[in-house]
Structures are given as structure tokens and as C-alpha cells.
């Protein structure tokens, strides 16, 4: 089902004309309303008038996480405080979170984008949907919620943390669809199987996102729960979930090109690449009012297909993600940067700055083990002091990254000492094929 055929099925010419008009507008808007952007453009001698359409996109400077950090919290906002109605946030590499600011219209557009995605998954106003993403600063819960309401479905805002209640209500309320992370859905499937309740559910579809997943995971959840599963993509900086979603043909994620202008760049040379190339996905907000980002580097590695899809939509399709051009990890749907762990460890006496993150998927749940060297000065003959140290690391990490990590104390020099950041991670999950 196509929610907004007028937009989702425009011809390539129409899409590009609309994108060009909107790009010109948004560039003018940030130039005049955001000092940070104005300075960035002036530094390279760029005037808003130089941008006449999407063919001029590569003249514009990139926006990166560093820009968000430098302008935290509201330095990139393009509207006065009175126009802002909401803030969401996700973790940044160090300390400050990446935040996004929304106006009322931004929330409406976001809801429509999510509604298009849900519609793509066959969900209608007759469906009953459980939202199993966290509600809060994280965009997942409220994003999916508003989209489902916009569509007219009946929403059960479950949030996270109580699988038993989710299963009970799934059965009691004849829930037909669920939005949650793919690993969580597999966890739910396992619990349903254990309790012998798979036959009791009315679930038809699942919209899964917030972490990368594989076709094998899709096959598994479809076979075990007798449902259709769809992949939804998004990032807080651009909006949240609903930037793109895959249709029943699973030929990539349709990105809503009337609101988001995608391009692929070479992360090494930072040059825009021709259509169809593999590289880093860069997105420009075309309609966002609160905090529109120009050429935001997502760090996600992929390619984009532009031909018309069998489903009838013309919106370009983001292909399978091949990894990241930075060292961000997504663990249980939470963005984690090794540098956050490092910063946390530096505040604890008794550990050295040497550490290793071991990420794995046990059953269907991500696990994070943090191996930390015990500093010689902190070591005593008493087990208690080591247990205290281990707990201190655990608690500090819980605060810093929001995850319960298993802390493993290792011998000093027990870890290989690397200079490069990325060597601090062993990811055994094989999420990118």
C-alpha cells in the first residue's frame, strides 16, 4: 500500500525539480538563520545564490558530528526557541550527546514519513501496533508512535523492559504489528516459543530498526513468527526512524527523497561519487525547520539505486549497509563509541587506559564485555578490592553509555596495546555481510 502516491511515485524529473527548489530554500534559510553555517559558507566564499539546484550540492560544506558537538545544544537551530517543540538525542563520541530540534511541522513531517514506512509494511488504520522501542530522548519510541497514530493505527506504547507484559498484551489485544529492534523481536520470538504461545498471536508484520540486521535474521523472524518483517532506517540527526524503509520486494530501503537528499561520497577523499557508487551516505535535510543539516555525514557505508522499484515507488533505495566509516558500534540499539568507554575508564582509579570491547550476540541478544587492565597500584591481596573495582567500572559505564556491560579485569599488559582507535573492538556479530 502506498500512503502518499503523489510523492512516493514521482518521476525522477519531478523529484529532482522538487529537491532543487527545496535545497535552494533550505540553504537560504540556514545562511540567514544559522551563524555557524553562514560562517562556514563564507569561509569558502560561497553565497546562497551559488546554489541553484541539486547539481550544486557538492559545493556545500559537509556537516559532521564535530559541528554538532561544537554548537551543542542549540547552535545549529534555524528557528527561535519559541518555535521549537521537541528535542531528541543520541550519544556522541565523547561527552555531549548529538541532539536534534523539532518544530511542530517537523514532527508532522516525521509522522508522515513513518506512516509511509508503516504503510509500506502493509499496516493500515485497522492494525493494532505495539511500539517496543524506548520512549524518551531516543527517537525510536516517540517516532514510531507518532507515525502509527498519524496512520490511524491503534498504538500500544510498550517501550522497553517488560517482555512478559508485551507478550501478554500482544495476545490479549490481538496485536497485529510490532515496531522494535530486530534483536529484541527475536528475543520475543524465543519467549513465545518457550511458552508455546506462537499459535496464540495475531501478529502479521514487524518494522525493525535502530540497528543493522541481516537477511538471515529476517528469514528467522518471518519463519518463527509467521510474519513479514521490514527494515526501517533513520538517524536522530536527520529526524529519527522513518528516513527510509524497505518494501515487500526488499531491494533496498526507499529514502523519502522529497525530505532527504542523499548522496554518496568517498570518505577518504571527501568527494561526491557518481550515482551507483559505493561509499559513505551523506544526507541533506530538505524540509526540516528546527535544525536542518546540510550534507550530514552519516558514516554509514552503502550505495544507492535510482531505478523504479517493482512496488511502484520511484524513491531511491539505500542498499545493504556494508559497515561504518567510523568506529561507532550499535549494541542493543544503543550507539556506542569506544572513545566514550575510554573517557569513562580514565575517571576510575585503578584501571589503565587500555581496554578491549568484545561485542557478541548470544542467542538473540547483544552482549558487551569490557576488558579492563588492573593497574598495578590498585592490585592487593584482597578479592574485595578487585570486586569493588569491577563494580565501579560497571557503574561508570552504565552511566556513560547506558548499557550493562560485563566487566572483565585482565592482567596489566594482558591486552595488546594499540595506537589506533578501532583496534579496541572485537565485534563477533558479523552484522555487515
Amino acid at each position: 500500500m502506498i500512503w502518499n502516491e503523489a510523492k512516493e511515485c514521482m518521476s525522477r524529473d519531478e523529484i529532482e525539480a522538487l529537491q532543487s527548489a527545496r535545497l535552494v530554500k533550505v540553504v537560504n534559510r540556514v545562511y540567514h538563520n544559522v551563524e555557524y553555517y553562514r560562517k562556514k559558507m563564507q569561509e569558502i566564499g560561497l553565497e546562497p545564490g551559488d546554489i541553484k539546484g541539486i547539481e550544486d550540492l557538492d559545493k556545500l560544506p559537509y556537516t559532521t558530528y564535530a559541528d554538532l558537538r561544537d554548537t551543542y545544544p542549540f547552535g545549529l537551530a534555524a528557528v527561535p526557541r519559541s518555535e521549537m517543540v521537541r528535542v531528541h538525542a543520541s550519544s556522541g563520541t565523547t561527552g555531549k550527546p548529538k541532539i536534534a530540534v523539532y518544530t511542530r511541522r517537523d514532527i508532522d513531517i516525521w509522522a508522515e514519513c513513518v506512516a509511509r514506512c508503516l504503510s509500506m509494511a502493509g499496516i493500515t488504520r485497522d492494525d493494532i501496533i505495539q511500539v517496543g522501542y524506548g520512549y524518551g530522548l531516543f527517537t525510536g519510541g516517540l517516532g514510531a508512535h507518532y507515525g502509527a497514530e498519524y496512520l490511524g493505527a491503534l498504538v500500544l506504547p510498550m517501550s522497553t523492559g517488560n517482555t512478559q507484559k508485551l507478550i501478554d498484551m500482544m495476545i490479549d489485544c490481538d496485536v497485529t504489528s510490532i515496531a522494535c529492534t530486530p534483536s529484541y523481536l527475536l528475543h520475543v520470538a524465543e519467549d513465545l516459543e518457550k511458552a508455546g504461545l506462537v499459535d496464540k498471536i495475531k501478529l502479521k508484520s514487524a518494522i525493525c530498526g535502530a540497528e543493522p540486521w541481516t537477511n538471515e535474521m529476517r528469514d528467522q523472524m518471518e519463519a518463527r513468527l509467521h510474519i513479514k518483517a521490514y527494515d526501517i532506517y533513520g538517524l536522530t540527526e536527520m529526524m529519527g526512524p522513518g528516513v527510509a524503509c524497505d518494501c515487500e520486494y526488499h531491494k533496498g530501503l526507499h529514502i523519502w527523497e522529497d525530505h532527504f537528499l542523499p548522496e554518496i561520497i568517498d570518505p577518504a577523499t571527501q568527494k561526491q561519487l557518481p550515482k551507483g557508487s559505493d561509499g559513505e551516505l551523506v544526507i541533506t535535510n530538505l524540509t526540516k525547520e528546527g535544525m536542518p543539516l546540510i550534507r550530514y555525514r552519516t558514516k554509514d557505508l552503502t550505495s544507492i539505486e535510482y531505478d523504479k522499484c517493482e512496488c511502484g515507488r520511484t524513491m531511491a533505495r539505500i542498499q545493504r549497509f556494508r559497515g561504518r566509516s567510523d568506529d561507532m558500534l550499535i549494541i542493543k540499539g544503543v550507539n556506542v563509541f569506544p572513545s566514550q568507554v575510554e573517557a569513562a575508564l580514565l575517571t576510575i582509579d585503578g584501571t589503565t587506559p587500555h581496554y578491549m570491547l568484545v561485542v557478541d550476540r548470544v542467542g538473540n541478544s547483544d552482549t558487551l564485555e569490557v576488558q579492563v587492565e588492573v593497574a598495578e597500584s590498585a592490585f592487593t591481596d584482597e578479592m574485595q578490592s578487585l570486586e569493588k573495582l569491577s563494580k565501579a567500572v560497571h557503574d561508570k559505564l552504565k552511566t556513560a553509555i547506558g548499557l550493562n556491560a560485563k566487566v572483565k579485569l585482565v592482567e596489566p599488559n594482558g591486552l595488546e596495546h594499540f595506537d589506533g582507535k578501532s583496534k579496541h573492538v572485537i565485534d563477533k556479530r558479523k552484522l555487515y555481510q
Binding site: 592490585f379 591481596d381 584482597e382 578479592m383 578487585l386 579485569l409 592482567e411 596489566p412
Partner: protein, 139 residues
């Protein structure tokens, strides 16, 4: 009197104890007693050795985390209730016992290593009550 105890941090992985003991053996260190406290991930080896300072240096040079600390070595007479009396004396002085293990040292009675949160005071109380404690030269 107190004696020196050698303590070594060990990751709980195969062959690690072997490596520690071999390193000490290659250095010619005579181990008199050993006790291990462990969790699933790591363990702490506690040992009474001859030449404790040199033993620690040998391990440190081999990149082990080792340190020396004092501990009470008590000779408990061979009689029912002797250990209970020793413990009761320490307890009566409001001193907390952290761990205890037997020492395999030849001689009269049963030598026991006792770690408390105030070893010097505990040793003095025991000695005043006529309980024999050992010094490094006596083991």
C-alpha cells in the same frame, strides 16, 4: 611477628598458574604454601615463599602483577578448639578476619596464615596471650 606474603593477580585462563609457578621455579624460588582465591574471570594467588622480595621482582620482571604484603603466621597447638580460641581472641578485639589458610611448614602444631584488617594489633594480642607467631626467618 608478621611474615611476607606474595600475591599475584592471574586471569582465569588455561596455563596461567603453570606460568606463574614455572617462572618462580626458574628463578629458584622455594614455595612453602599456596592458596588461591578465584572468581570465574580472575584469581588471586597468595603464596608464602623463601626470599619474598626476590620472588616478587622475578614476577614483576616477567610482567606479572605481583605485590608483597604482611600476614600473621600463627602456630596453633595440636588440640581440639585451638584455632577457635585464636579466632575468638582476634574477634574479641573487634578485628575483622579477611581470610585464613593453612601453611605447610614443618614444626610443632599447625601453622596457619591469618589476614585481618589490623595485622600488627592482632599479632600483638596473640603474642601477649602466649600464642606463637612466626617471623620470616622462622619459616
Amino acid at each position: 611477628m608478621l611474615i611476607k606474603q606474595l600475591t599475584v593477580f592471574m586471569e582465569n585462563r588455561e596455563g596461567r598458574l603453570d606460568e606463574v609457578l614455572k617462572t618462580l621455579a626458574n628463578g629458584g624460588i622455594d614455595i612453602l604454601s599456596v592458596s588461591i582465591a578465584d572468581t570465574t574471570d580472575y584469581g588471586v594467588l597468595r603464596a608464602i615463599t623463601r626470599e619474598p622480595e626476590r620472588a616478587k621482582q622475578i614476577l614483576t620482571d616477567a610482567s606479572f602483577t605481583a605485590r608483597l604484603n604482611d600476614i600473621i603466621a600463627v602456630v596453633v597447638p595440636d588440640a581440639v578448639g585451638s584455632l577457635a580460641k585464636v579466632v575468638a581472641m582476634i574477634h574479641a578485639a573487634n578485628i575483622n578476619i579477611k581470610y585464613v589458610y593453612g601453611l605447610s611448614i614443618d614444626g610443632e602444631g599447625a601453622p596457619i596464615a591469618i589476614k585481618t584488617d589490623d595485622d600488627a594489633k592482632a599479632a600483638a594480642i596473640l603474642e601477649a596471650a602466649g600464642v606463637k607467631t612466626l617471623s620470616d626467618s622462622e619459616i
